[in-house]
């Protein structure tokens, strides 16, 4: 089971909002549970672990596998397949995106 980045995140406008969209390919034994970890990136200085008061954080808007949209944190997909992750970034900051996958059955069993 593996998750590969098919594209770099690209800036796009969807429903009047500025978003980041990135496509991933899932392969190997499935179904696969995908999980996205988003954070404000501080460049060479790593991830932000102490955000300003009340400051926004990047959010997952939806996953799109061509069949329908899933507006959840994680998402189970068949394998092999392709999926697009759409993220709402925080203005004037870098968004670090890490998507990882696990076999859905193993996650359910544990």
């Amino acid at each position: 089971m593996s998750v590969a980045e098919l594209t770099e995140p690209t800036v796009d406008e969807r429903d009047g909002r500025v978003v980041l969209a990135q496509r991933f390919a899932v392969s190997g034994p499935g179904p696969v549970l995908l999980r996205a970890r988003l954070s404000v990136g501080l460049g060479e200085r790593g991830r932000e672990d102490d955000a300003p008061v009340g400051a926004a954080r990047p959010e997952i808007l939806y996953w799109d596998n061509g069949v329908g949209l899933r507006r959840t944190e994680d998402c189970v997909v068949d394998s092999p397949s392709e999926i697009e992750l759409v993220v709402l970034p925080v203005p004037d900051t870098i968004t670090d995106i890490v998507v990882s996958g696990a076999r859905a059955e193993e996650v359910a069993a544990s």
């Binding site: 500025v18 203005p91 670090d96 890490v98």
Partner: protein
């Protein structure tokens, strides 16, 4: 992991960079990667020709043609951890504009690695720019970094020639590597190679390092190998040292991790620790091999 900017940026080829050039008197030469003769009193006169597609760059970002964009050079110095603006010019909304960066960079804020960061920066977005375009003044649209090492090895391993009897080290030793115990402290200032004045062969070789004789080469190879051995031994013996820990750039921990990686790329630290404990002689032999002791001499 992907690292995403929150706005559209132009493709890299909107800027065709020429080489960084150094002006000395009437002569012009390509800026070398190493400037061993540089010192704090040096004023670097630098130039760089570029061709920039200012119209295409704006368009690709979703910026209207009347948006104000600058071409900016920022210097950043590793040893002082300082940075500042070196040069700035406005970027016309034309394609194929020939520009020339030209500035003097005084030495008093610099030292160690010098990064020259060339960037296209938004000054003000014009009317009619896209929602996906950068909007905040200072937004970086495009950036390229060129690094130059000032002062050469003297920065990383500064050398001091002293009388070991006075500094209370064993007075017959040839040299000693001072190294901070704190893995998180900055390596600059934590490392100092002390050479014993009472060992003229070693002192002479280190002083002639730029143009060594054959005899000097033997000494230099030995000292170099032994310095690496000291650093590897330190990494192996120090229980607090963890090569997978993310030591900040420039710290003693980061230096040890990089020396260990360069010396033993295929072996993990636990294996080295075991071998040093159980087969110390083989471990020493392996270090000689990895550091190329006397190989080029």
């Amino acid at each position: 992991m992907s690292r995403a900017y929150p706005y559209r940026r132009p493709p890299a080829d909107v800027v065709a960079t020429g080489p960084w050039l150094r002006v000395t008197g009437d002569s012009l030469e390509e800026l070398p990667l190493d400037l061993p003769d540089w010192d704090y009193e040096t004023i670097l006169h630098l130039r760089r020709p570029l061709r920039v597609d200012g119209f295409r760059a704006r368009q690709a970002c979703g910026l209207s043609p009347d948006s104000a964009v600058t071409l900016t050079v920022v210097w950043a110095a590793a040893n002082s951890s300082l940075r500042g603006q070196a040069w700035q010019g406005s970027l016309p909304a034309l394609d194929g504009a020939e520009l020339q960066i030209d500035f003097d960079l005084p030495g008093d804020e610099l030292g160690g690695r010098l990064d020259l960061e060339t960037s296209l920066i938004l000054r003000a977005a014009g009317t009619g720019s896209s929602a996906t375009a950068p909007s905040r003044p200072g937004s970086v649209l495009w950036r390229e970094v060129h690094s130059v090492m000032l002062q050469g090895d003297a920065v990383l391993f500064p050398l001091a020639i002293v009388d070991f009897e006075q500094v209370r080290y064993p007075s017959g030793a040839a040299w000693h590597l001072e190294l901070s115990e704190d893995l998180d402290s900055q390596a600059l200032g934590s490392i100092l190679l002390l050479a014993n004045k009472r060992r003229p062969v070693v002192v002479g070789a280190l002083e002639n390092a730029a143009d060594p004789s054959d005899a000097d080469r033997l000494v230099l190879s030995t000292v170099q190998s032994e310095v690496i051995r000291s650093l590897v031994e330190r990494a192996v013996v120090d229980k607090d040292f963890d090569p997978t820990h993310d030591y900040a750039t420039g710290t003693v921990g980061a230096l040890l991790a990089s020396v260990l990686r360069a010396t033993f790329p295929d072996r993990d630290l636990d294996a080295l620790r075991r071998e040093r404990q159980h087969e110390p002689i083989l471990f020493t032999t392996r270090l000689q091999n990895a550091t190329g002791l006397l190989a080029g001499a």
